[in-house]
C-alpha cells in the first residue's frame, strides 16, 4: 500500500529540472532569447554580490539585522523574471532579490535594512509589497490581491513568497484554500531551504513534500530544483500562464538552501553541518547557469569578470547613495499612521519636534 501511495504521490515528489549539476541540460529548456538568458545570469550575479556586500555592511554595524539569501538566487530570479509590471509580489524578509528583479531599486533594500521605513516604499508603479515579517501572512494578502484583479476583470497575477517553515502557519492553509475556492490568479511559492532558523524540515512536517499539500486543495502542485534558475523559471511560466488565463492558483515548492545564517543574529553551526553546506554549494545556481551559457557559446570568461566588477560597482553606488541619505525625517513616524494627523498625533509630533530642536540646541551649546 505504501508503495502504491508513493507511486501515486510521485508527481508531487519528482523534482523538475532543466540543468544538471554541471549545467548541461537534462530537461526541456525554456524558450528564452540569448539576451534573456544573459540577463537572468546577470541578475543572479548581481544578487550574490549585493547579498555578500550587505552581510559585510551588517558586520561593520552599518546595517541592522540582515537576512541573506545567497544560495537562493535561482529562486529569487526565476520567480520574478517573467512577471510583468502589472503583476504583484508579496515577499518575505529573504526575498529582496525578487523584489529588485520586479523593480524595487536596490537603494530601497539597503535603506530597509539600515532601518528606514522609506525602504519599504516601492516607487509608484512598482507592485512590490513591503516585506512581511510575520510569517505566511503575506500569502493571504497575495491571494486577496489576485482576487481583486479577477473581480476587476484584470489579468494581473500575484505571487506570495513563503519559506518551508511558513507552511506550518494557519495562514498557509487559509490562503491556499481561498485561492482554490475562488480560483484566483495567485502563485504560492515556497522556497524550501530545509530549515526554519534551526528547525529542520522533518520536524516541521511529516509529509514527504510540500508540493503534495496541493492535494488538499485540488490545485496544481509542483516541485522544482531551486538551484536551477531555468527550471524555476519554467514552472513559473506555466503557473503564470495558468493564472493569467483564468486557470487559477499554483503551489510551487523549490528545493534550495541558504548558504549563510538565517539572519545576522543566527549561528547556523549550532544546527547544521559544514558538509551539508558544501554539498549544496557544489550545486551553486550561479555556477551552473554560467557553465550552461558558456557551453552554449553565449558567455566568455572576460564577460564574466566584467560582470562581477559591474555588479560590485552597482552595489557600491547603491550603498553610497543609501548612506548619503542620512537619517529619516522624524516627522515620518507620525505622518503615515493615518491619511490625516488626528489631534493626538499632531500634539505628539509637535512635542517631539520641539524636543529635538531643544536637544539639538543643547548639543550646540555644549559643543
Amino acid at each position: 500500500m505504501a508503495t502504491r501511495e508513493e507511486e501515486l504521490l510521485a508527481p508531487y515528489l519528482q523534482v523538475r529540472s532543466v540543468l544538471g549539476a554541471d549545467g548541461t541540460p537534462v530537461g526541456p529548456e525554456p524558450d528564452l532569447t540569448p539576451d534573456q538568458l544573459r540577463e537572468i545570469y546577470r541578475w543572479m550575479v548581481f544578487l550574490r554580490v549585493h547579498d555578500q556586500r550587505l552581510l559585510t555592511l551588517q558586520r561593520q554595524g552599518r546595517l541592522g539585522t540582515f537576512a541573506p539569501f545567497s544560495g537562493q538566487e535561482a529562486c529569487q530570479v526565476g520567480s520574478a523574471y517573467l512577471l510583468e509590471p502589472k503583476d504583484w509580489i508579496f515577499p518575505t524578509y529573504r526575498d529582496h532579490g525578487a523584489m529588485m528583479v520586479h523593480g524595487l531599486p536596490e537603494v530601497n533594500v539597503i535603506r530597509y535594512f539600515m532601518g528606514d521605513e522609506w525602504g519599504s516604499r516601492a516607487p509608484d508603479g512598482v507592485n512590490v509589497f513591503p516585506i512581511s515579517i510575520p510569517i505566511a501572512t503575506q500569502l493571504n494578502h497575495a491571494v486577496g490581491c489576485a482576487w481583486a484583479s479577477k473581480i476587476k476583470g484584470e489579468d494581473a497575477v500575484a505571487v506570495g513568497y513563503v519559506g518551508d517553515g511558513g507552511t506550518s502557519e494557519g495562514d498557509f492553509h487559509e490562503a491556499l484554500n481561498f485561492a482554490s475556492v475562488f480560483n484566483v490568479p495567485a502563485i504560492i511559492f515556497v522556497q524550501n531551504n530545509r530549515y526554519a532558523i534551526s528547525v529542520p524540515l522533518h520536524r516541521q512536517m511529516k509529509s514527504r513534500s510540500i508540493a503534495q499539500r496541493a492535494l488538499a486543495y485540488d490545485i496544481p502542485g509542483v516541485r522544482v530544483d531551486g538551484q536551477d534558475v531555468l527550471a524555476v523559471l519554467s514552472v513559473f511560466r506555466e503557473a503564470i500562464d495558468r493564472a493569467r488565463s483564468g486557470g487559477g492558483p499554483t503551489l510551487i515548492e523549490a528545493l534550495t538552501y541558504r548558504y549563510g545564517p538565517h539572519t545576522t543574529s543566527d549561528d547556523p553551526k549550532r544546527y547544521r553541518s559544514q558538509e551539508e553546506l558544501e554539498e549544496w554549494q557544489a550545486r551553486d545556481p550561479i555556477e551552473r547557469m554560467r557553465r550552461y551559457l558558456v557551453a552554449k557559446g553565449l558567455w566568455t570568461e572576460k564577460e564574466d569578470e566584467d560582470l562581477w566588477n559591474w555588479a560590485r560597482e552597482q552595489v557600491a553606488a547603491a550603498v553610497a547613495e543609501a548612506e548619503a541619505m542620512g537619517r529619516p525625517d522624524p516627522a515620518g513616524i507620525f505622518d503615515y499612521v493615518y491619511a490625516e494627523l488626528p489631534w493626538h498625533l499632531r500634539e505628539q509630533k509637535e512635542k517631539l519636534l520641539a524636543e529635538l530642536a531643544r536637544r539639538q540646541g543643547e548639543v550646540k551649546r555644549h559643543g
Partner: protein, 325 residues
C-alpha cells in the same frame, strides 16, 4: 426619510455605498445567500451578485488577510466578522498589517478596509458572542474605531468609514440592532468620524459613554433628573480618535464625570478617558471620576449576563456618588 432599525440602517448604508462605488465589496461568513446572521447584508447578494457579496470560507485570518490584499489592489472591502469574539483569529492581520500598511510603505500602499462586527452584550447569546474588544485596538495605532448608538449615526458613520482612506473597525452594538426605529434619510450622507455627539445636555454631571450604554446612560439621566441632577450624556461615537474637545468642554462645564462602558474595568476605554481628563482638564474636576464598567471577569453566560452589564440603576448610583462628593 424612512423609519429604520439600526440593522436596516446598516443594510441601507451598504446598499447605498455599493451602488455609488463599484469598488465596494462585502465579504464574510454567511453574508451572501443568507444575508448575514443578523440580516445586515440582506438583499445585497441578489442585487450585486457573488463577486461583490462574497460568502467566504470559515477563516477569519483569511477574510481579513485577503481583504487587505484586495484593498491594496484597489477595492474597498467591507468585511463582516460574525461576532466580536471571532476577530481574535484575525488579530495578527489587524495589528501587524491592516493598521500599518500605509505607515510601513510611507503612503505607497493603503488598506482602506472596513471591518463590521456585531459587538457587545445584551442579547443573551452563547459564549464569545457578547464581547467588548475595543481595548485590543485602542493602544494600537493605525486603526479608527467607531461605535454607533443610533440608526442615523450607524448609517452615516458606516458610509464615512467606507469612504475613509484608513482602516476602520466598525463595532455595531448588536443589542441595538432592533431596539428602536428612527427616521433615517434614504440617500447618501456621512457622519464624521472623530466627533462626539451630545446625546443630552446637562449642567451637573458629564457622562461619557458609547454604543448601547448610551441608552442606559439616557435612562439613568432621566432618573437623575427626577432627583434634580442634570446629567450631560456624551456619546463618544469614535474611540479612535477620541473627541478631546467635546470631552474637555463638558468637563469644564460640569466638573463631575461618570465614564460608562461595558468592557471589563481594568485598562479599558474608560481608563483612557480618565487619563485624558487627567491630561487635559484635571483642575476642573470637583470629584474623582467614577467608572461604571463591566467586572473584570469574562462575559458571563446568559443567566448571569444581567449581573455583568451596567444598567441604569448602577449608573444612577454613580451619578449620585459623583454629584454628592
Amino acid at each position: 426619510m424612512a423609519r429604520m432599525t439600526m440593522v436596516q440602517a446598516i443594510n441601507d448604508a451598504l446598499r447605498v455605498a455599493m451602488r455609488r462605488d463599484p469598488r465596494v465589496v462585502v465579504m464574510g461568513e454567511d453574508v451572501g445567500v443568507n444575508g448575514g446572521v443578523f440580516r445586515a447584508t440582506d438583499g445585497l447578494y441578489k442585487e450585486f451578485g457573488p463577486d461583490r457579496v462574497i460568502d467566504t470560507p470559515l477563516a477569519e485570518a483569511g477574510i481579513i488577510g485577503t481583504a487587505i490584499g484586495m484593498a491594496v489592489n484597489g477595492l474597498r472591502p467591507v468585511a463582516e466578522i460574525q461576532f466580536d469574539g471571532f476577530l481574535a483569529p484575525a488579530h495578527e492581520h489587524v495589528v501587524n498589517h491592516l493598521a500599518r500598511i500605509r505607515w510601513r510603505s510611507r503612503g505607497r500602499f493603503t488598506a482602506p478596509v472596513v471591518i463590521r462586527i456585531p459587538s457587545f452584550g445584551g442579547i443573551r447569546a452563547l459564549e464569545h458572542h457578547s464581547e467588548s474588544i475595543e481595548a485590543w485596538y485602542m493602544n494600537n495605532p493605525g486603526l479608527k474605531i467607531v461605535v454607533p448608538s443610533t440608526a442615523y449615526d450607524a448609517k452615516g458613520l458606516l458610509l464615512a468609514a467606507i469612504e475613509d482612506p484608513d482602516p476602520v473597525l466598525f463595532l455595531e452594538p448588536k443589542r441595538l440592532y432592533r431596539a428602536f426605529r428612527e427616521e433615517v434619510p434614504e440617500d447618501y450622507y456621512t457622519v464624521p468620524i472623530g466627533k462626539a455627539r451630545v446625546a443630552r445636555e446637562g449642567r451637573d454631571v458629564s457622562l461619557f459613554t458609547y454604543g448601547a450604554m448610551v441608552h442606559v446612560a439616557l435612562e439613568a439621566a432621566e432618573k437623575a433628573a427626577q432627583e434634580g441632577i442634570d446629567v450631560e450624556v456624551i456619546d463618544l461615537r469614535s474611540l479612535m480618535p477620541l473627541d478631546v474637545e467635546a470631552i474637555v468642554a463638558s468637563v469644564q462645564k460640569t466638573g463631575r464625570v461618570v465614564v460608562l462602558n461595558e468592557a471589563p474595568r481594568t485598562a479599558g476605554a474608560a481608563a483612557e478617558i480618565i487619563a485624558l481628563i487627567n491630561d487635559k482638564a484635571l483642575l476642573y474636576l470637583e470629584a474623582p471620576v467614577v467608572r461604571v464598567t463591566g467586572f473584570d471577569v469574562p462575559m458571563p453566560y446568559l443567566l448571569n449576563e444581567d449581573l455583568y452589564l451596567p444598567d441604569a440603576e448602577r449608573v444612577l448610583e454613580a451619578i449620585r456618588e459623583v454629584r454628592s462628593y
